[in-house]
């Protein structure tokens, strides 16, 4: 009796692909030499006379295209890899059913209760502090910070989060920025429970957006809208102001720009690396033993994702606070970003792929196709000269 794990029906209700536009020049600047990673055997051998066969033989280009259709590294980054089903024979299945009963019937209500208590405590402390201590900014900020850390701990408890923190805890100093790899919005909660970071996030709709505009505002968060190109300069300016400010909470940025499935890292956006601040990398790796913590935003809403976490046994993860890095003399922001990405990927055991995460929402720029065309054209002309 073999149980095959059922695939979730693919719904695109939360898809953000409402407009696939050709990417603006910003994406070009963010991307280092992608041609180095793409296969280049579509260039015919140099220094041999050009024959009809060479022009007619498009098999290398076709092979690349078919290879991309069959398997490509970009889609692999966003593929959910749920844990292997283990309920596949006659005595494991009843055990698994018992587990389902315990998870949904006992653990889940317990967790909802804990979370409710947490919210009640939080709101009953936060609202008075926020309203009454309007004049005493320093004290208010300190209390609000502690309260945000508290509610995040309640959240983590509500999924029975087993989080192991390695390395020195972050401290609040000016001219420093924290960057981490991104798997789900819970990354933020996991990190926030230890230190009250100010984070830069995409503005979400629904109850998440409400939380963003009220509570997270008090820790100093910055919002942006992915689809607005003009937003970039405003956001860059806000980032710089925050980093240079003295009393602000340490800033946390997820330079991948989108959630990736915790097996790969996509290219880091250079915005965090050109602020002239020290970059402190944080690596987060989730253990898939009980549940896959990757939030596949195309497949499920955040609420569904949270519910899935709350009805599983535990969320296990490791957080490593790594050595702060400074830009080396002569290093560009992009090279710096790639270096830090290498450090984080090495620590968390992730593979690096040369794609921009925003390709989830837009098409690659024509620059790449043009560079392939250019190399082919040059070799044709070169070989034409040969005798």
């Amino acid at each position: 009796m073999v149980m095959i794990s059922q695939r979730n029906p693919l719904s695109s209700s939360t898809s953000k692909m409402s407009k696939l536009t050709t990417s603006s020049s910003e994406l070009d600047l963010d991307r280092p030499n992608i041609e180095d990673y793409l296969p280049t055997d579509s260039i015919p051998q140099p220094h041999a006379k050009l024959r009809l066969r060479d022009l007619l033989d498009i098999s290398p280009t076709l092979t690349e295209a078919a290879g991309a259709i069959v398997d490509d590294s970009f889609t692999r980054c966003f593929k959910s890899n749920p844990p292997e089903p283990w309920n596949w024979n006659i005595y494991l299945f009843p055990l698994w059913c018992l587990g389902v009963v315990v998870r949904y019937g006992i653990l889940f209500p317990g967790r909802v209760l804990i979370l409710t208590i947490g919210w009640i405590i939080f709101l009953s402390c936060y609202i008075p502090v926020h309203v009454l201590l309007k004049g005493h900014d320093k004290l208010r900020k300190r209390l609000e910070r502690a309260l945000v850390e508290l509610i995040c701990s309640f959240f983590v408890a509500s999924w029975t989060g087993v989080v192991k923190y390695h390395g020195p805890r972050p401290c609040a100093r000016p001219k420093q920025v924290f960057v981490a790899n991104h798997t789900s919005m819970i990354d933020f909660i996991v990190l926030e429970q230890m230190t009250a970071f100010a984070v830069i996030m995409q503005k979400h709709p629904g109850w998440v957006g409400l939380l963003q505009s009220t509570i997270l505002e008090s820790v100093g968060c910055i919002w942006f809208n992915r689809s607005e190109a003009k937003d970039r300069e405003i956001v860059a300016r806000k980032l710089r102001e925050h980093v240079e400010g003295y009393d602000n909470n340490p800033l946390l940025i997820f330079p991948e720009g989108t959630c990736v499935n915790n097996h790969y890292t996509v290219m880091f956006k250079k915005g965090a690396f050109e602020l002239g601040a020290t970059v402190c990398p944080i690596a987060i790796k989730y253990n898939k033993i009980f549940v896959d913590a990757f939030w596949n935003s195309r497949k499920q809403s955040f609420t569904t994702h949270l519910l899935q976490l709350m009805t599983s046994w535990a969320v296990v993860c490791d957080v490593w606070y790594l050595e702060p890095q400074n830009m080396k003399p002569g290093e560009t922001a992009i090279a710096f970003a790639e270096r830090v990405r290498g450090i984080i990927s090495a620590r968390a055991g992730l593979k690096m792929v040369p794609w921009d995460g925003y390709l989830k929402y837009s098409r690659p720029s024509p620059k790449h196709r043009e560079s392939k065309q250019k190399s082919f054209a040059e070799s044709v002309l070169l070989r034409l000269e040969e005798k």
């Binding site: 009809l52 007619l56 076709l62 991309a68 259709i69 043009e370 065309q373 250019k374 054209a377």
Partner: protein, 175 residues
């Protein structure tokens, strides 16, 4: 097999295998099916333009548009047949026929100078000017014994491409 139920039965697999002349093993067909479902995000039973072009590696390929015209709206069986030319078990004849089909966009079995020029344009883009492209192609054609206004058919392609064998293989990842 028009709908995209997530589970393939043994009958389905055998039907697809027969349709592609046994160029793929049963395991490869299962992998291809998983891939098809992964690309077909809205479960329409076929992969649309947007879904293909959302694979960046495919979208940056110079021949993407041309291939896309051939692959648009295919259901899974036809999708596998389309990819069968890239299997290691495909014959040389099959591969050459495939290349011929890419050139022969109107499907009339004849490839004219304009078809050759179109593909060359796709491959070289703006890096060879229109005025340069024609003489290059004409020169190379004449050296091979054809004239500018010759119409090439499949047997010509076999003769030109078939002599040294063709390296056109894609490995289907099997879990």
């Amino acid at each position: 097999m028009g709908n995209t139920s997530s589970i393939l039965t043994q009958y389905d697999i055998e039907e697809v295998q027969e349709h592609c002349n046994n160029t793929f093993s049963q395991q490869e067909i299962v992998s291809l099916y998983q891939r098809f479902c992964q690309l077909d995000r809205n479960s329409g039973g076929f992969i649309s333009a947007d879904e293909f072009l959302s694979v960046p590696e495919f979208a940056v390929n110079p021949l993407a548009q041309r291939l896309f015209r051939m692959i648009d709206g295919l259901n899974f069986k036809e999708f596998v047949a389309f990819l069968s030319a890239f299997s290691s078990r495909a014959t040389l004849q099959h591969k050459v026929e495939y290349i011929f089909k890419v050139y022969d966009s109107d499907g009339n079995g004849k490839v004219a100078f304009s078809d050759l020029l179109d593909v060359l344009r796709d491959l070289t883009g703006q890096f060879i000017s229109e005025q340069q492209r024609e003489p290059v192609l004409t020169q190379v054609l004449e050296e091979a014994g054809y004239k500018k206004d010759s119409i090439l058919v499949l047997s010509d392609f076999m003769k030109i491409l078939g002599s040294n064998g063709l390296k056109m293989e894609v490995e289907v990842p099997v879990d």
